[in-house]
């Protein structure tokens, strides 16, 4: 069976085509195409909904054509067309939903609206083979600790204010770091050169975490190392007397927020009695986070599962995959229902394709 997946809930436009064995058989899934085009904003700026939607509209036809060509399939081979129903930014979601509707009418195909978070989880499970892990979902818009129980992905913990990815992205803007390929990636590279750990707030409440206070504090530190300040007035490490660098701040920020993420994940694992953990979402590409999570999981006699940027970062293939799972479990959507929504909780989806 074949599905086309369209994703555009944030600044990435992703088109994917997946092949599943028919419902009656089990077997590996095949990725026939997984294309992405990213809207990159200038340094110091975030991406606005209006500009992002325009980006998606101007690339979607080209990308769909290219994906179909790469997969070597014709429209009539498809079983369904899957698109991101939410959560995400309104205007970009709409532009992609309209494209999905258009294709469905044109090619006379079933439409399946997919929850973006569930897409990440199902793709992560499929790629890594993690059966029933605790999932840490970390991206620019979401921070959630999730575990599966009775046909739902239940949210155990989440960010109480801004998402961890948003915290990192906004700090990249403070430092005027490039958004190409991604602000978080550039912070990660810079953090590798950091040496000094400074004091930041550490805000964990049970399985929830809060990041806005940390962002405010690290922003204050950044102002104290500004190149506009005379050398003598800049922040120094008290023991060595060395000047604090942007790299030190990136290092400090990562060490602090990742420790919090690992801690809330560990708490959920202890609570449900699981030793597997799967990291999904854009921040999940971060190798330091993966390393820290790995050490924690090992201490609990388990291991960490993570994917690379093809699947961690928003993509179309995860939408095709989760959509096809739903389609095979009997989910159908009327044309009138094929809307999108900025708010769509992970636990709102009935997961009929799992025991």
């Amino acid at each position: 069976m074949l599905a086309l997946g369209l994703e555009g809930s944030a600044n990435k436009l992703g088109i994917g085509i997946i092949h599943h064995p028919p419902s009656s058989k089990t077997g590996p899934v095949n990725i026939l195409a997984n294309l992405r085009h990213t809207f990159v904003s200038p340094p110091g700026e975030g991406f606005l909904p209006k500009d992002t939607a325009k980006h998606h509209r101007s690339w979607i036809v080209r990308l769909v054509k290219q994906a179909m060509r790469q997969a070597g399939i014709r429209p009539e081979d498809l079983d369904c067309i899957c698109y991101t129903k939410g959560p995400g930014m309104g205007a970009p979601l709409q532009s992609v939903a309209i494209a999905a509707r258009t294709l469905a009418l044109l090619w006379e195909k079933e439409l399946i609206g997919v929850n973006h978070c569930v897409g990440h989880i199902e793709m992560g499970r499929s790629i890594t083979g993690a059966e029933n892990p605790v999932v840490l979902y970390v991206s620019g818009g979401n921070t959630q600790v999730i575990a599966y129980s009775s046909n739902r992905y239940r949210i155990f913990g989440e960010a109480l204010d801004i998402a961890v990815g948003n915290c990192l992205d906004r700090f990249a803007r403070t430092l005027n770091i490039s958004n190409d390929p991604a602000p978080g990636y550039n912070i990660e590279q810079l953090a590798k050169k950091g040496k000094h750990l400074l004091d930041l707030p550490y805000a964990v409440k049970g399985m929830d975490a809060s990041f806005s206070g940390i962002l405010a504090s690290v922003d204050i530190l950044a102002a104290q190392i500004s190149e506009e300040l005379p050398e003598g007035k800049r922040l120094r490490e008290p023991e060595s007397g060395e000047v604090i660098t942007p790299a030190d701040l990136c290092f400090t920020l990562q060490e602090t927020v990742f420790a919090m993420l690992v801690e809330i994940t560990e708490r959920a694992m202890a609570h449900v009695g699981s030793s597997q953990v799967l990291i999904v979402g854009g921040v999940g590409c971060n190798e330091r986070l993966q390393e820290m999570m790995g050490m924690m999981a090992r201490d609990r006699g388990g291991s960490v599962y993570a994917t690379d940027e093809r699947f961690c970062i928003d993509n179309g293939i995860m939408i095709a995959h989760a959509g096809l799972l739903a389609y095979k479990s009997g989910v159908r959507m009327n044309f009138e229902e094929s809307t999108c929504t900025q708010r769509f909780r992970t636990d709102a989806v009935y997961v009929g394709w799992r025991e």
Partner: protein, 274 residues
């Protein structure tokens, strides 16, 4: 349960040379738990050891461990003084990362609810023809509702004492057999599932803080509510009983319950933005 963690850690001083036997009990969310005796050989105690976390930067790790051990000990002392049902503190080693507290017989609320939920499934699926099935189930449901109220009162007493827990889950609430309750005669040493009728004891104060803010109190309730929703979907409908009892438990508690609505709304909003 696998005890792989045992071989991965050495005990803190002074316990690695101690002649008192240490019985490994469990690996919690961040600590390792042993049963031993402290002060006198017949005072059973829970030794809670927070080993260094290799994933954390050592500076951060030391700071957090010390902070939490001290917070836990201080808050437990305060709670005991104010009549909140918690284990007594027996000894603390904050540099080494351990605290010794009174041993609580019984088991966690999580265990008791799991047992109740699986039994309930049993009456519905397996024994639906059984005559007493319905009555038994009803009785158990009453017991759960009553238990929920008693949890509400315990949390109310905690908040009234000026403390917020910071990690209220069903793993951090224990049920201790009272002399009257049915599980009272059960084995001293066994860590069993508590019975729904047992006494509520709050544990695990590593993330606790002193606060009388409505917001902090409401977040405590929110964390607990979500713990129910995520792990005990069948008990969640009775969360209202908990909130009602909490609301009546001290002056100002009703304001907290109102505040909870705001916290919920905020939670729902932000987690749905992509």
């Amino acid at each position: 349960m696998s005890q792989a963690w045992l071989v991965l850690h050495t005990l803190p001083a002074p316990f690695f040379t101690s002649s008192t036997p240490l019985m490994p009990i469990t690996q919690g969310a961040e600590a390792l738990l042993f049963k031993t005796s402290l002060i006198t050989t017949d005072t059973p105690a829970a030794l809670k050891y927070r080993p260094p976390k290799p994933y954390r930067h050592p500076i951060l790790d030391k700071k957090l461990t010390k902070q939490r051990i001290l917070a836990e000990a201080r808050v437990l002392v305060k709670c005991a003084r104010e009549g909140v049902p918690v284990p007594r503190v027996l000894a603390v080693g904050w540099e080494e990362g351990w605290v010794g507290v009174e041993w609580i017989r019984g088991g966690t609320l999580r265990g008791a609810l799991n047992e109740w939920e699986s039994k309930r499934m049993g009456t519905y699926i397996g024994k639906s023809a059984h005559e007493d099935g319905g009555e038994e189930a009803e009785e158990a449901e009453e017991a759960v509702k009553d238990l929920m109220s008693r949890i509400g009162i315990a949390v109310g007493r905690l908040h009234q004492a000026g403390v917020v827990h910071g990690d209220l889950t069903t793993s951090n609430i224990m049920l201790r057999p009272t002399t009257q309750s049915p599980s009272g005669e059960s084995q001293e040493h066994e860590q069993s599932n508590g019975s729904l009728k047992d006494e509520v004891v709050l544990i695990d104060f590593g993330l606790a803080a002193q606060s009388v803010q409505d917001e902090d109190r409401a977040v405590d309730l929110y964390v607990l509510e979500r713990a129910f929703g995520a792990t005990h979907p069948k008990a969640e409908p009775f969360f209202g009983d908990l909130l009602r009892a909490y609301g009546d438990s001290f002056k100002g508690a009703k304001v907290v319950v109102k505040r909870l609505e705001e916290v919920r709304l905020r939670g729902r909003k932000k987690s749905m933005i992509g």
